[in-house]
Subunit: 365 residues, 2 copies
Amino acid sequence: MTDPRMIEHAKFIVQKSTRVKKNDNVVVHVDDDGMDLAVEIYKEAAGIGAHSIIIALPSEALRGELANASRDALTSTPKHILSLISSCDVYIGIRSDSNLRSLASTDPRNLALYSKGQYPINETRLTKRWCLTQYPNEAYAQEAGMSLREYQDFVYGAILLDVDEQHNRMEKLDSIMKAADKIRLIGDRTNLEFSIKGRIPVISDPIHNVPSGEVFTAPLDTSANGEIYFDLPAIRLGREVRGVHLNFKDGKAVDLSAEENEDFLREQLNIDEGAKRLGEFGVGMNLKIDRFTKNILFDEKIGGTIHLAMGRAYKENGGTNESILHWDFIKNMRRGRIMMDDKTIQENGRFLWEARPPSRQNKRE
Amino acid sequence: MTDPRMIEHAKFIVQKSTRVKKNDNVVVHVDDDGMDLAVEIYKEAAGIGAHSIIIALPSEALRGELANASRDALTSTPKHILSLISSCDVYIGIRSDSNLRSLASTDPRNLALYSKGQYPINETRLTKRWCLTQYPNEAYAQEAGMSLREYQDFVYGAILLDVDEQHNRMEKLDSIMKAADKIRLIGDRTNLEFSIKGRIPVISDPIHNVPSGEVFTAPLDTSANGEIYFDLPAIRLGREVRGVHLNFKDGKAVDLSAEENEDFLREQLNIDEGAKRLGEFGVGMNLKIDRFTKNILFDEKIGGTIHLAMGRAYKENGGTNESILHWDFIKNMRRGRIMMDDKTIQENGRFLWEARPPSRQNKRE
């Protein structure tokens, strides 16, 4: 039986996130299991007078392409897909891979070539009213260490929350970040400083990301100095990199190591010049996301965490770093400190202006 | 487990039917269950250096759109989809509805409006290297009155046959039709004459239709006179119309009746002026298709049948009739006669130059 929350989710995407209106041309992208949600979105949009197309890239199709296609074919941009995306108004991406390791044995170089070919399509997508969301399936539940029913509760809980209350909490942090120059992150093997001066912090309501709940900005390209250790795994294209330690000098990661999959980390950060620089600094603010589930769409919003992305910065932040990479690394700050212009604003995951740490607050809800 | 014949099917589509080549932009369209085949086609095309996109229109999405969308929205053409189709080289359609009655309670007027909106897209598709094929699923097996395993044997048997031998049989009929003026069909409540003079008969190898096996042409628009009774049901958009009887005067169906769903028949033939005229006359030539399965892609190719389409004629036949409709009606000729220029060429399903009727020949294969 259809989970009634899936229909609420579809309505949320269409009405609140992408605000579909009459005559909009909508693209809904699914990979494996999200077709039911795509169909509900399609029907909801049709009722408003919009036209939708569902496009599917099953993980086995992508795996086969990365294995079979020539270097030339991988790096060239499919013109018909670019044409479709260019002529749409709204782009909705649904994550629902039926197996999160289906690309595990794919040559990372082919992934990098493929990313180059897809770059113009991805850039065009970002000029539209776009949204990325999650369909709770067995694979993601397994990855999160939950049953499917538990995972559905987790996903819909994080999405169908009181977005106004969440917005108010983020506004407070945003006003501080707007005025800030230097950010310092302190913790285990971590003492990193960078500047966000003149950049534009953005409150992430669930518009582009559903769920959302983060405040993020773009560090100045050459400002990062010091070291940082990420205690949570960083996942990209089916690969898990653990225990990442980065050392920055004048904005560039000059030294890097990882306890697991260091080669893949190195490969990705060598894709281009910008991949070695910071593209994003974000602070997780969604209190319904109370645990790490190995899914960046959720993990980067965990209350009490921060994340840094290597690679492309967002233009909405006034960011300037360019790269085909944008890879988030998350750090739990429950044993750490965030300082802005030499003042502590968060200690052990708790903002100084909040009564209780997020973990306890969660339990009361 | 994947049926190995599905991979043969995908190779057939890519290599023999649409002849995908390097740098081709390919669109693969599925409705419900055909994603596995779409993925194999995608991978096969990727190996050749082509780029594919899979687009999906699940039957519940279409049903919801037809139920929810306004008249305006239904009749307007989605520009982003038109843009995608315009910029592709190859279009592959896979039939795999998971329920062949999902549109049964849809208002036929909404179907007609939707057809108008889709018309430019469908016309553009026909200018590409296009192909329509079948994925054998439970719904089509049930409709055919078979188990899935039996139906898979039937479908793959009709597709993966000796296409050269089939071509030679069709060439014989084609040469006769090229020289013919008057066609007369005689049988139960049937005595219909029309002209195909100057039109271009086409041998249908499995290029556009997979499976194929028919020789078809376009009747002259004002030439049909007489009556015809179709003993096999005619199916369109989930509706089954039985016992159709049409009376033609100077090319136009001036009188029509049906034993079941006459209203729907009338509705469809009133869509526009061309819908009341013949767009196609075809002769079924696939000897592996030896029974009626309520699926036009197969039924119109049954050895020993003919079909007439109401509505749009194909330009490749030099046809001139225009309509948003193209609806095939099949007649079993096992108890009938086909005459060309007053000479009998087929009697009771057997061509005069063939030793045995197709039904017996089938049993020996």
